[in-house]
Point group: C2
Chain length 469, copies 2
């Protein structure tokens, strides 16, 4: 290894080119700072290259297949495919990932952001080194942004390194469709995996662990379980995994469920896994940067670490692990570095799962609101009561709204059904401004449209929904 | 005709069971009033039975067909139908219309609203009569709501009564698919007709009149024209119709366009027509109710006519002709009658067209804002820059935002593209609260999602969109 004698002077160094990192880099550049981005692998990060985007391409295919099944009602007599052509779907995934990565590269270039390939490690609170193959370069910086993200692991005894036991984004790297898939998970990722592989023709079984029940509001969970049943996906609840045994030809999982002892045998076993910060090679201690018990970096509202000129954004921090939060924090980092006052706040962020019907949720569930000491009201409007749902043949789903009983301040929106992802933004707006029932009920909603289900869920809080009785 | 001797006493009488009427009836009933609804034809009104809903069933089929064409990219090798099976589509339309009408009937029954079939006419400001066949009943009322809607007509020389010259909702009553269709119109209805019949296999030609250019924002109009061209629909602009000649086998239309004199020959000719209030048999003068020059009923913010105990809602009033406004006014009528303070305001209502890509617009266009004396900024974000658009293979469209230059107050949102109808509600929220750039840019948006195009359009107003350069 060749170690350079002197440190090259840089202005702002961003470590990691995922959503958090490239948003930080571009926003700082927009505000006149000179930015160097260090990336050891691919810009776009895990979100673009491994997880969010590949998952969404798969679920998009699954949703298109589902939509096609209603087409004959409308006089569209297509001969539907039995299942998805996997190699073509993978080709589409590559096109989307590569196209988006090129887009990020072009943006970085247009903003004159220098991209350095290699692996970064701090040498002090003002210097870091970048290693690539046998070379090692030293940089001095005014500000740095740590945006190295997280990886996923299986807690406990860990896992064998096989193609049958999969974790996190590994499921999207498979080159063959597994005949059977056991999913042990109840979060938005697991539900997308279930939707995608069910459409691919895999025989999917979903296990919901005792310690991790379904992740959404109770009404949404109930509707989700109904849809899973309708799709003939076997669901086990209150599961505790007891033993996993892998052979050359299959994997056998013994578990305890609500109904007693069960055994499953099949091709692949999937668990979303736990996030672990990607900080192994960063030498955070050399810069004096503190981490929490799990190794994540605590940050303040200006996304500063305990070293106030060094920032951290996204999954590497103690914040909720969502790309939407990472890129928000990235913008805040860029703005603060650029001399603006800017803050983030873990409030009213949307949680999305593009599963059998899309799920979108923001704010508090009823149970969370009760735990926080609120006296609450709730109102649920089913898509069966929505005029456009009848037109579109999409009557699955519901919208549930939670408010503070006395003041009418809205606390949470929870939905599953057509258009939920797009419509959550109106809910986030209302939550963000501390809106009340009248703020959400007063504006015009297009007619006929799915949006009216949201309006009527809110109106239901004051017993004035028109299409509910 | 048998005229009763005495007038039966009623509490609240609503005339007309369309969206405005049944919303008024139910809201008044929710607030404890006894309501009688008089309907001469079908509850649900023109919107449900003749125009909005049938049109949306047709455009839904057209959009499904369009979506199916991208499916092979995702490995979904469906054999697509060449065109829509029209009798099956009509069957679906009947199912949706009948199902929705039954839903309205059930609601009225559940709210113990009496439904009287017949044609109403005022006898005085406190009495009206209802005629049905040879019977005539007299009712005395405390409050009345006029919700009789409008019909469409062709201005000028009028039209011949034929199956080749169609107006308003008549197009959705056709039992055969026309081989060729000339549409002279540029509003949201005409664009839905173009989308629907193009998918049905009709050879569609669209004429945009000189005096009525495309109805949306300039950027949306430009994208619309691009999509029409892409679909190989012939578009003539700056058109003046000169002569229409109908024979037994076809219709010939001579017109002047931007390019000179043109002649079109084909099966059917469609114009949306002008709205005319349905007040012919109401004898408004007997109740002393004033009308404007076109015969529409002026109302105040509490939807009261000049006779303050008589209300009017929807298309029969001087307000913009949109179902979303009618049903809002209906709720206001019900609330005021029920003793609440309630108002409507023709501000920030969404205008929707479910055409080749959905169009959704609310607030002022740049041109309107300039006319109103604002110094404005504008920002346009194309769907080609949106990550989810790449995933979904839906890169057509854009979002344009208009703000007041100095204050950053948002004045208008104009969009065409996937999810536009669902996403307009967030824009309406922002406009309704008089929000500024930071109010719309600060909240979290799901990632990756179409919603981010909205966020970036807003960020573009301050040159801080990440994916735009």
């Amino acid at each position: 290894m060749v170690v350079g004698d002197f440190a090259e002077e840089k202005d702002v160094i961003v470590i990691g080119g995922g959503p958090g990192g490239y948003h930080a880099a571009i926003r700082a550049a927009q505000l006149g700072r000179e930015v160097t981005l260090i990336e050891s692998k691919d810009v776009g990060g895990a979100c673009l290259n491994e997880s969010c985007v590949p998952s969404k391409v798969y679920t998009e295919a699954a949703s298109q297949l589902k939509a096609m099944k209603k087409a004959p009602q409308y006089g569209l007599d297509a001969v539907l495919p039995e299942r998805v052509d996997f190699s073509q779907l993978q080709e589409k995934k590559h096109q989307v990932v590569n196209g988006s990565a090129k887009g990020v590269h072009d943006l970085l270039k247009n903003y004159q952001i220098e991209v350095v390939e290699g692996s970064a490690s701090f040498l002090s609170s003002t210097q870091l080194g970048v290693e690539k193959n046998d070379a090692f370069e030293k940089f001095k910086f005014e500000n740095a942004v740590i945006a190295t993200g997280s990886s996923r692991y299986w807690p406990g005894e860990g896992k064998m390194s096989t193609n049958r036991q999969l974790c996190g984004s590994e499921i999207y790297q498979l080159h063959e469709i597994p005949g059977e898939l056991l999913i042990v998970g109840s979060d938005y990722i697991s539900l997308e995996v279930a939707h995608a592989f069910h459409a691919l023709g895999t025989n999917v079984t979903l296990c919901i662990e005792e310690k991790n029940p379904l992740a959404f509001d109770t009404a949404v969970n109930k509707e989700l379980l109904r849809l899973l049943k309708k799709e003939k996906i076997k669901v086990h609840t209150e599961v505790t995994i007891q033993h996993v045994n892998e052979t050359d030809t299959s994997i056998v999982v013994d578990f305890q469920s609500k109904k007693g002892a069960e055994q499953w045998e099949g091709a692949c076993f999937y668990r979303p896994g736990m996030p672990r910060p990607r900080t192994d090679t960063l030498h955070l201690e050399a810069a004096g940067i503190e981490v929490d018990e799990q190794g994540f970096i605590p940050i303040n509202q200006a996304v500063q670490t305990n070293q106030s000129h060094i920032f951290a954004v996204g999954d590497v921090t103690s914040s909720p692990k969502l790309a939407a939060i990472a890129l928000k924090q990235g913008k805040v980092a860029g703005e603060v570095i650029g001399g603006m006052k800017s803050e983030w706040d873990p409030f009213a962020y949307p949680v999305i799962s593009r599963t059998f019907q899309p799920v979108a949720s923001a704010g508090l569930t009823k149970e969370e609101a009760l735990q926080e000491g609120y006296a609450v009201k709730e109102s649920t409007f089913p898509m069966t009561g929505n005029g456009y749902a009848a037109i579109a043949g999409e009557k699955e789903g519901l919208v549930k709204v939670v408010s503070e009983a006395e003041t009418g301040v809205l606390l949470g929106f929870h939905s599953i059904g057509p258009g939920a992802v797009e419509m959550i933004s109106a809910a986030v707006q209302v939550l963000e401004m501390g809106g009340r029932v009248e703020d959400a009920a007063y504006p015009y909603y297009p007619h006929p449209s799915f949006n009216e289900a949201w309006m009527e869920a809110v109106e239901g809080l004051e017993e004035k929904a028109i299409h509910l009785r």
